[in-house]
């Protein structure tokens, strides 16, 4: 696995750049971003190769999902924590962004109130709830995008890891967490727009959200965020800290007996992952134009896990592939035959776990190893045998 790349031990943040997989990933990602931009801007609309604003938007959405999948892979693949509640962090980041965008509407809402968003006027509120203050400032809102999910993960993780809640128990309580949050956000009294959530956004830091240029900008920003997030995760998993987390994943008790404070490592990685998920949510919201409590639904969270499983756990790039593949399939299916989508999704869950436990990335590696084996006798064919344990 990736742990074999311990030769280059210079500064931890630059270490990923010397990895072949990271180089390929970043290369492909940058090429894709450049290609889409080129086809969107330089190719005239009547040309069949032209990429329309809608498609750019769609790709942007996929990329934010990909970042979310990377965040989940970080905790599931390298820490062994199957979080069924990462949708919660994603949604909280999204809500933080949504609150900022709501405040940007200003007095252009239906009711024309200078401060209060429409839904608050509708509910006859006369002032902003305390937690809405500050979201009119971009820096504050963008900080909250990271801090709010990070804080939730910190508190939740601190409690959970301290009492050594692991395995399926942890999965179930993360699911309970997102379920409880979903119920809470559905309430109008919470002050987040209840059922309808936040929508009707106008502009982001001065750019009109409906213009094609802004959409392209958001798409590129998401791509860059994905690249940075990927590098950060890669840096973490190749560092000493990352190796302790993998050790925790494979044998928690043994790692503890070796003298490591396992819960601290778990907490750190979990919080980083939650923040990345929050960032993904914040990039997702302006591109789809709405955030509502359905993002908290347990089904969404478990779907994210499928993306990672399909792409290949504990590879990071596999998570990106999985997220894009599944969501592309979803777009196709829900367009052509909506009834079949749940069958396809369900079948994917079953087939991937039974027949493709290492995902698409595992398939790549298998083929690569086969090729290498043909040339020489493989010296490290043991490393994949123990991956499956969870």
């Amino acid at each position: 696995m990736s742990l074999t790349t311990e030769s280059s031990t210079n500064f931890w943040l630059t270490r990923p750049f010397s990895e072949r997989s990271t180089q390929i990933f970043l290369g492909v990602l940058l090429a894709a971003l450049a290609l889409v931009t080129l086809l969107h801007v330089a190719v005239p609309p009547d040309n069949p190769l032209h990429v329309g604003a809608y498609t750019v938007n769609l790709f942007g959405k996929y990329l934010s999902y990909a970042l979310l999948a990377v965040a989940v892979d970080l905790v599931w693949g390298y820490l062994g924590i199957l979080s069924l509640g990462h949708g919660a962090f994603f949604a909280i980041g999204g809500y933080a962004m949504g609150m900022y965008l709501m405040r940007q509407i200003g007095d252009r809402g239906t009711y024309g109130h200078p401060v209060l968003p429409d839904f608050m006027v509708f509910l006859n509120w006369d002032s902003l709830p305390w937690f809405w203050h500050g979201f009119d400032m971009a820096w504050f809102a963008f900080a909250m995008v990271l801090l709010a999910p990070g804080l939730l993960a910190l508190v939740f993780g601190f409690l959970a890891f301290r009492s050594r809640v692991t395995g399926v128990y942890l999965s179930i309580i993360t699911q309970a967490l997102t379920f409880a949050l979903m119920l809470a956000f559905f309430r109008n009294e919470m002050g987040f727009g209840g059922n309808n959530g936040l929508t009707d956004f106008r502009e982001i830091v001065g750019f009109d959200l409906r213009s094609d240029a802004t959409r392209l900008g958001l798409f590129l920003a998401t791509g860059v965020a994905l690249a940075l997030g990927y590098i950060l995760c890669r840096a973490i998993v190749t560092s000493k800290l990352g190796r302790v987390s993998v050790a925790t994943r494979d044998a928690e008790a043994r790692t503890r007996f070796l003298g490591y404070r396992v819960e601290r490592f778990q907490l750190f990685v979990f919080v980083v992952s939650a923040m990345l998920a929050g960032l993904a949510g914040a990039l997702y919201v302006p591109q789809v134009g709405i955030i509502n409590p359905s993002e908290f639904s347990p089904i969404f969270s478990i779907e994210i896990v499928l993306w990672v499983a399909l792409g290949g756990r504990a590879t990071l790039y596999g998570a990106v592939i999985g997220a894009i593949l599944v969501n592309y399939a979803k777009t196709i299916f829900t367009g052509v035959m909506p009834d079949a989508w749940l069958f396809a999704l369900g079948a994917m869950f079953v087939l991937v776990t039974v027949f493709l436990p290492k995902g698409v990335a595992g398939l790549f590696r298998y083929l690569k190893r086969r090729k290498r084996e043909e040339q020489t006798t493989d010296p490290d064919h043991q490393h994949t045998s123990k991956e499956a344990s969870a």
């Binding site: 199957l82 939740f156 409690l159 959970a160 301290r162 009492s163 050594r164 809640v165 395995g167 399926v168 128990y169 999965s171 179930i172 309580i173 699911q175 309970a176 967490l177 379920f179 409880a180 119920l183 809470a184 559905f186 309430r187 347990p298 478990i302 896990v305 499928l306 499983a309 009834d339 749940l342 069958f343 999704l345 369900g346 079948a347 994917m348 869950f349 079953v350 991937v352 776990t353 039974v354 436990p357 499956a388 344990s389 969870a390």
Partner: protein, 539 residues
């Protein structure tokens, strides 16, 4: 206004239909010898003067004619009419121009008549009031106890001074204790409102809302002695009501808890034994509920029999589905609990969509058999719905049955052995794979039973299982994995906690509080209320 009118019309119409049915049944039994006298009584109604009409009504009341109630009701509803040739008819349905009518005396249908040929016997508000209390009293003479009971109940708060002597007579004659109790209460309400001490004393401890109204009026009365007595018994009643409300909350809590236990107990078995989280458990419940529905479709008109037959059928359907899931998917994922979770989640999606595509995305109606509907009235403030009581009993029976299987049978012994130490059990000659299949079938079958029970409480639709899956996990985790008693205690207590919180927090917030409580509880006791002891727990 027009909507209101048409609504009122509709009410009359329905009333008319039911009354007609009753009229026919009673008329069939009655003799026609006193028809002449009856006609005379009715003739007396068709006069100009309202005073004379009032006297005619009294005469009808005293006539002891069995049809009197129907006449008076028809008169009150304006459906007692007269044809041009002088016959009295009952309008069955006043819609359009031609109204179906029936003969008042014989009850035989006379076809339709134009409304121009009919003349209504009019009444004024005074007569209307007189009629209303008169009808109540007429029923009190009825031989049918049920009718007497309902009419006595209707009298609460409707008694006026004129009625009191009649009622006192009736109380003396009445044989049915319940009717007597109600009548006494009705009179006491009148007396208490009139400021009489006797009334206040008689109402002491009565939980009926109308009694409380009467007492609070008496408490504001002029006579300080009566007012104090009324206030004292009011506070006593409040106390009683509080207890009753508590009991009701407890009952609803236990009912909710029994559903949770049913849903979770199968999960507890599969999770406990195989360490497998079966996310499709909710969908197995859904299959059980749909089995009930299908059974009722197969046996139309016999919902009770169908329900009883669906208990074994639901068990079998869900158990077979469970075995299919175990053999088809789970056996390939041994030792990978998180992957099993994902795969079974996929199965749950497929099953849901299958039901949506094959049957319908809409909810199906499952009929509640007659012996399960209605409620057990404990007192005026507390009545317990029967269907919930049956489900509660059913949950306990299922629990006891599972306990027996686990403790007293060979299968139970093997299951416990495999749960505690799989490798050791295998080396002692227990076929662990077979035990896996059997436990999974058992756990799934119990989910089917839960579905059968749920079909009596909630909507049967494709999302039925989804709504319960998270709650069931909470129960299992809260109770401690692999411990049936833990599941029982956890399920019932979570149900009660939820219901206790609901009045002041609201349904949604109550649920959130319970979820947060469980999340915090798990932090404190990661292995649940009743953790497994020994080495197995460290697995």
């Amino acid at each position: 206004m027009r909507r209101f009118l048409s609504l009122a019309l509709l009410c009359f119409l329905l009333l008319g239909i039911t009354l007609n049915a009753q009229a026919q049944s009673t008329d069939a039994a009655s003799s026609s010898t006193n028809d002449a006298a009856a006609l005379e009584l009715l003739e007396a109604l068709d006069v100009e003067s309202y005073t004379a009409k009032g006297e005619a009504i009294t005469a009808i009341l005293q006539s002891d004619d069995e049809r009197a109630r129907d006449w008076l009701q028809a008169l009150l509803d304006g459906r007692l009419q007269r044809t041009e040739d002088g016959r009295f008819v009952l309008v069955l349905e006043n819609r359009g121009r031609d109204w179906p009518v029936a003969d008042v005396l014989t009850g035989e249908a006379l076809g339709e008549m134009s409304r121009r040929d009919l003349e209504r016997i009019g009444i004024n508000n005074n007569l209307r009031n007189q009629l209303r209390s008169a009808i109540a009293v007429v029923d009190l003479y009825s031989l049918n106890v049920e009718r007497r009971r309902t009419s006595a109940e209707r009298l609460l708060g409707e008694v006026d001074g004129e009625l009191v002597p009649t009622l006192d007579d009736l109380i003396a004659q009445e044989e049915d204790e319940q009717v007597r109790y109600r009548l006494t209460q009705a009179v006491a309400i009148y007396r208490a409102e009139a400021g009489e001490m006797a009334g206040v004393e008689a109402l002491d401890g009565s939980l009926h809302p109308r009694s409380r109204v009467a007492l609070s009026r008496a408490a504001n009365g002029d006579d300080p002695v009566v007012a104090n007595a009324a206030a004292a018994s009011l506070s006593g009643i409040e106390q009683q009501l509080k207890i009753n409300r508590g009991l009701e909350t407890l009952y609803f809590g236990l009912s909710l808890g029994s559903v949770l236990v049913l849903a979770a107990i199968g999960l507890a078995i599969t999770f406990g034994v195989m360490g497998v989280i079966n996310m499709a458990h909710g969908e197995l419940m859904m299959l059980g509920a749909y089995t009930t529905w299908a059974m009722q479709q197969l046996l139309p008109g016999q919902p009770g029999l169908a329900l009883i037959l669906s208990i074994p059928a639901g068990f079998m359907v869900a158990a077979l589905a469970g075995v299919a899931i175990e053999r088809g998917v789970i056996q390939f994922l041994k030792g990978r609990p998180l992957e099993t979770l994902l795969a079974t989640f996929g199965i749950s999606l497929i099953l849901q969509q299958l039901v949506r595509t094959v049957i319908s995305p809409l909810n199906r109606t499952v009929i509640t058999p007659e012996w399960m509907s209605g409620s057990l009235v404990v007192n005026d403030a507390l009545s317990l719905t029967l269907n919930r009581m049956y489900v509660l009993g059913f949950a306990l029976v299922v629990f006891a049955g599972l306990m027996l299987i686990m403790r007293r049978t060979r299968l139970g012994l093997e299951v416990r052995a495999v749960t505690q130490n799989r490798a050791m059990a295998r080396s002692m000659g227990i076929r662990a794979t077979r035990v896996d299949i059997m436990t999974f079938a058992l756990g799934s079958g119990v989910a089917g039973l839960a579905g059968v029970a749920l079909s009596q409480l909630t909507n049967v639709g494709p999302n039925l299982g989804q709504n319960y899956i998270i709650d069931s996990f909470m129960v299992v985790v809260f109770g401690g994995v692999g411990n049936l008693w833990g599941t029982l205690v956890a399920g019932l207590s979570l149900g009660v906690i939820n219901q206790v919180l609901e009045p002041w927090a609201g349904a949604v917030l109550a649920k959130i509080i319970v979820l947060v409580f469980i999340i915090l509880f798990i932090q404190k006791r990661p292995r649940g209320l009743f953790p497994q002891k020994g080495r197995a727990a460290e697995g």
